[in-house]
């Protein structure tokens, strides 16, 4: 869940009133947000680096607010305020408009070289915007939040914002050999080739995470203006030339990526959020993007979509009885402008470009329920009549583990994942003989394989409890995993029972006796006749004896 950090006083000023922390927490809860932490820059630095470093840092109160992962429209102060003000019916949701420029439209031309690395781009212009320090910070922060979330750490979409007045269109989005790309990147004083930059950024704590996206590709994506000035080398870094400042009045925004839908959503979010500060509020200047096939599109889309939902469907899904008019009002409070039409039971809902999360009627139902207030909904019990059954394997497990404890053995609970060594080398078994499933991306050796036997876990439990008085008598009834090509996924679980007796003397008769007891409980007679059980010597057991009992 993304966390948005906003200055409390700035937030209250924008909301037009103040709240106590408790009141604001309550408001967040009702709206589906979470006031995660109340802090300040000073407190954060002091916590992370000590009081000394925090000296002189700002002690302006910050609210850290958790935002649902699909609500990109709430990832900045501007969006949060707009959402809450509409929710509290203090303002109406703004109508976002795309306008054509007075002069020539800004053009971004995509060349076919991009096809293999980053085929999509969209663009727009924020005209006559007025930044302040806070607005500027919020603008940068929103890009960062989008990059981390919907943009999947820039892999799907990367955003570049530029001072349009420092550039001259049309712009070209192409892909070139890294050695052929040379420019002065953001916050550097000289030019570097793309190869040099990739090297430099390997030690950059922020940028090093994005290098892998293009690192091994023969061509790197790059955007030029008509004079050959580099705007950006997505998804890594922008050029320094077109850097936006507090004085920037016209912003050219480009989003490039591998997911066209998400690129369009990201652009819509940025321009709807920050067009608030344009001279003509909530208007966005269009830009034209020409694709390699010659087709040209105008962005941002800022598409409004109409959905029709029957009032009784909402009532039936939520479990309330509201009039269609009331439901329309509730939805309007969620930035979904709604009205009752047709037979008086139909509600027409306008989905704004900020609400890409609304993809089905169920999303509309949820918003109606939120506006109604989850905690105002009458709780009822469904009349669903059913007879309960236990899963037979678990039923047996439950019965048996109680009797294992009654037999004086203590239940261990060990991990299902372990190292290859645990199930193979340490037991003197070849890993290939174990039929173990192997994990491809373990962070440590502890998670290389799923266990094929419960024994290593019990032995490790004993090793960690050597200070306990002897004897130790342990058991575990749990699942192990082995490959099995007859199963749809090619592997299956088996439920195993394992017990270990640990003492200064071997005491084989004790574990033997336990086995006899288990067989007695399972009603299996001893002896080969009539399906009884027998114990036979085997290499594995000899080994177990050696490893298991002789340590003391």
């Amino acid at each position: 869940m993304p966390t948005v950090s906003v200055k409390r006083d700035l937030l209250f000023k924008a909301l037009g009133r103040t709240y106590t922390d408790e009141e604001f927490d309550e408001l967040c809860f009702e709206f589906g947000l979470e006031l995660d932490e109340i802090t300040s820059e000073k407190e954060i630095i002091s916590k992370e680096q000590g009081d000394k470093k925090a000296e002189g840092a700002s002690d302006v109160v910050l609210y850290k607010i958790d935002v649902p992962a699909n609500r990109y429209d709430l990832l900045c102060l501007e969006g949060l305020v707009r959402g809450l003000q509409v929710f509290k019916e203090r303002i109406k949701a703004p109508l976002y408009k795309r306008v054509m420029p007075n002069g020539e439209i800004q053009k971004l031309i995509i060349t076919e070289e991009t096809a293999k690395i980053r085929p999509y781009a969209v663009a727009a212009v924020l005209r006559n915007i007025k930044f302040t320090k806070d607005r500027y910070d919020s603008f940068i922060e929103l890009q960062e939040k989008l990059h981390q979330n919907i943009c999947r750490k820039r892999a799907l979409v990367a955003i570049g914002a530029h001072d349009l007045d420092s550039l001259s269109g049309p712009f070209t989005f192409t892909a070139k050999r890294p050695s052929d790309i040379k420019f002065k990147p953001l916050s550097k004083t000289k030019e570097y080739t793309a190869c040099e930059l990739m090297n430099i950024y390997k030690t950059d704590n922020h940028l090093k995470h994005y290098l892998h996206i293009i690192e091994n590709k023969p061509l790197y994506p790059v955007i030029y203006d008509s004079n050959g000035v580099v705007l950006s080398m997505p998804p890594i870094i922008n050029g320094n030339h077109s850097k936006i400042t507090l004085n920037t009045r016209n912003v050219f925004i480009e989003c490039t990526g591998t997911d066209f839908t998400k690129a369009k959503i990201v652009l819509d979010i940025i321009v709807t959020m920050f067009s608030e500060y344009c001279e003509n509020q909530f208007t966005v200047e269009a830009a034209e993007v020409v694709f390699p096939n010659g087709k040209s599109y105008t962005f941002p889309e800022l598409a409004y979509r109409k959905e029709m939902v029957r009032a009784d469907l909402i009532n039936k899904k939520v479990g309330i009885r509201e009039t269609p008019e009331n439901l329309a009002k509730l939805l309007t409070r969620m930035c979904l402008k709604s009205e009752v039409i047709g037979d008086g039971n139909q509600i027409e809902i306008e989905i704004p470009p900020t609400r890409a999360d609304i993809i089905h009627a169920c999303d509309i139902v949820e918003d109606a329920a939120i506006a109604y207030g989850y905690n105002n909904i009458q709780m009822t019990l469904p009349k669903t009549y059913t007879i309960a059954n236990q899963f037979p394997l678990n039923k047996l497990t439950e019965l048996l583990r109680h009797d294992m404890a009654a037999a004086g053995f203590t239940e261990a609970l060990t991990f299902a994942l372990c190292s290859q060594e645990d199930i193979a080398d340490k037991l003197g078994v070849d890993i290939s003989a174990t039929k173990a499933v192997h994990i491809s991306n373990p962070k440590t050796a502890e998670f290389q394989v799923a266990r094929t036997t419960l024994l290593p876990g019990l032995l490790k439990t004993i090793a960690a409890n050597r200070k306990m008085p002897l004897p130790l008598k342990l058991f575990e009834i749990s699942d192990i995993v082995v490959k099995d090509s007859s199963r749809d996924v090619g592997a299956r679980n088996y439920r195993h029972l394992c017990a270990v007796y640990y003492n200064k003397n071997p005491g084989f008769e004790i574990i033997h006796g336990l086995l006899d007891r288990i067989m007695q409980l399972l009603d299996v007679p001893p002896g080969e006749k009539k399906g009884g059980y027998v114990i036979k010597a085997s290499e594995g057991w000899k080994l177990f004896y050696h490893n298991g009992y002789q340590q003391s």
Partner: protein, 477 residues
């Protein structure tokens, strides 16, 4: 320490003595209670290998009043023997003698005398032997002379049984220390169940009480298809990242998928349908085939609902499961790479958010949690979604106790469930309520091989609705 001076003396004497000291003799010599010396020995022993001590018991015997009499006058049987003249004596007369009753039967069993029942004036007693040895008298005289050790153990106990001999200082004459009820007793040797699994048993019980049927969850390995795609979780979703999920190298891919259903899922993701816009991206079968360690038991719920959808006509169900799930996460005090998930699912015609809340209220009441409130939330596969919060008395704040919602139509309709059937579901971890219940702050102290077995031995019964847990000092997320 009270034993201090005695212990000092004891050590000094021990140094000087060859072959050790007798505690009783030392006590007598020092003029202290024997217990004081024993206490000094015990406290010196507790310090480690400073002294060696062994328990010796000595017994002294003395005669009872009757024993004294017999030592003086001879045993009852001897006295009977001597009373019988060579011509015999009527039994009735013999019985009137002071030693008659006891002496007669002993003398009989010693075969010193016999009875002639056919004698003219009633039974008559005759001597069998001319003389006899009165061993009883002799032995008692030995004891009186301080030579009890010359008697065999068997002989002594024979005399003791006849109440002729008594152990000096027997327990009857000793003062007893009162029982110390403030000390701990000795716990019985026993096996123990693991606390987390004790809580699991309770949760199973609660579900069964509520009429929920247990789903099979015995498949840790799952395909991405059942774990994510079937749940309408898009292929670029962060949860499908290498950073969050354990993928398999071998077997890397699922061998079989239900292809008809897969196509419906693919269409719903990439183009929409069933009233949905879809996610509008290129859905890849290869991605769905990727095997992984299931990240939630909802994968098993999806399989169960798919099986339900294929049974016609539709019958309402209540399902539950409690089993392990796996996350490739950064480990900390509250997160491990594997944990247990508890899940409840109800499918029926016309279920509402109000029904979900009603079921949750009943469920949590059984856990002893009565103050609930619900927060709007986001889950990829439920809509509407709700986080469940309960008021924690110890922390004096609302804490999240579970997650819930109605499964999305994009998940249910491709399975083939009827359109007017809603499925409500909720989930929580097993570890978190257990940590709260048993007051454990670090999950590693609860799960895995590093747990202290003493914790397992000591953990009380799990009665979720009976007692409030100890105050929790750290929030388990």
């Amino acid at each position: 320490m009270a034993d201090g001076p005695v212990a000092d003396v004891l050590l000094r004497r021990l140094e000087a003595a060859d072959g050790g000291l007798d505690s009783a003799e030392l006590a007598a010599e020092l003029g202290v209670e024997h217990q004081a010396v024993v206490g000094a020995v015990k406290s010196l022993q507790a310090l480690g290998e400073i002294i060696e001590a062994e328990l010796r018991s000595t017994k002294r015997w003395e005669l009872t009043a009757e024993g004294e009499e017999i030592a003086r006058e001879g045993s009852h049987e001897a006295r009977v023997f001597r009373s019988v003249p060579p011509e015999g004596l009527a039994q009735s007369e013999l019985m009137r003698l002071p030693s008659g009753k006891v002496g007669f039967s002993k003398a009989m069993s010693n075969k010193w005398i016999r009875v002639d029942k056919s004698a003219a004036d009633g039974p008559r007693v005759f001597r069998v032997v001319d003389s006899m040895e009165d061993d009883v008298q002799r032995r008692l005289q030995l004891v009186r002379g301080g030579q009890a050790e010359k008697l065999a153990e068997k002989e002594r106990s024979e005399l003791r049984k006849r109440k002729l001999l008594t152990e000096v200082g027997s327990w009857r004459d000793r003062p007893f220390k009162p029982y110390n009820f403030s000390a701990r007793g000795v716990l019985p040797d026993s096996g123990h169940l693991h606390p987390l699994l004790k809580v699991r048993t309770q949760f199973r019980q609660i579900f069964l009480e509520m009429g929920f049927t247990e789903m099979p969850t015995d498949n840790f390995i799952e395909s991405s298809f059942w774990n994510f795609d079937a749940l309408f979780q898009p292929q670029q979703h962060p949860a499908r990242d290498q950073h969050d999920t354990f993928f398999l190298q071998d077997p890397a891919e699922a061998l079989q998928l239900p292809m008809d259903y897969v196509h419906r899922v693919k269409r719903t993701h990439s183009q929409g349908g069933y009233g949905s816009q879809g996610y509008k991206y290129t859905w890849k079968l290869d991605e769905a085939r990727k095997n992984l360690l299931r990240t939630h038991t909802t994968a098993a719920s999806a399989r169960a609902l798919y099986r339900l959808a294929r049974k016609k006509p539709f019958t309402p169900i209540k399902y539950f499961s409690i089993d392990r799930v796996f996350r490739n996460e950064t480990l900390d005090a509250t997160h491990l790479a594997e944990f247990h998930q508890i899940e409840g699912v109800v499918a029926d015609h016309g279920l509402t958010l109000g029904h979900l809340m009603g079921v949750l209220r009943e469920f949590f009441t059984k856990l002893g949690i009565t103050q609930l409130r619900f927060k709007p939330a986001y889950n990829p596969y439920t809509e509407p979604s709700m986080e469940v919060f309960s008021y924690h008395q110890g922390l004096k704040k609302w804490v999240e106790v579970g997650n819930s919602g109605l499964f999305r139509p994009e998940m249910l309709l491709p399975m083939g469930l009827p359109e007017n059937v809603s499925v409500i579901a909720w989930g929580l971890s097993l570890e978190r309520p257990t940590m709260i219940k048993y007051g454990i702050n670090n999950i590693r102290e609860l799960v895995g091989h590093k747990v202290n077995l003493q914790m397992v031995y000591d953990s009380p019964l799990c009665r979720l609705d009976a007692e409030p847990g100890p105050p929790q000092t750290q929030e388990a997320a």
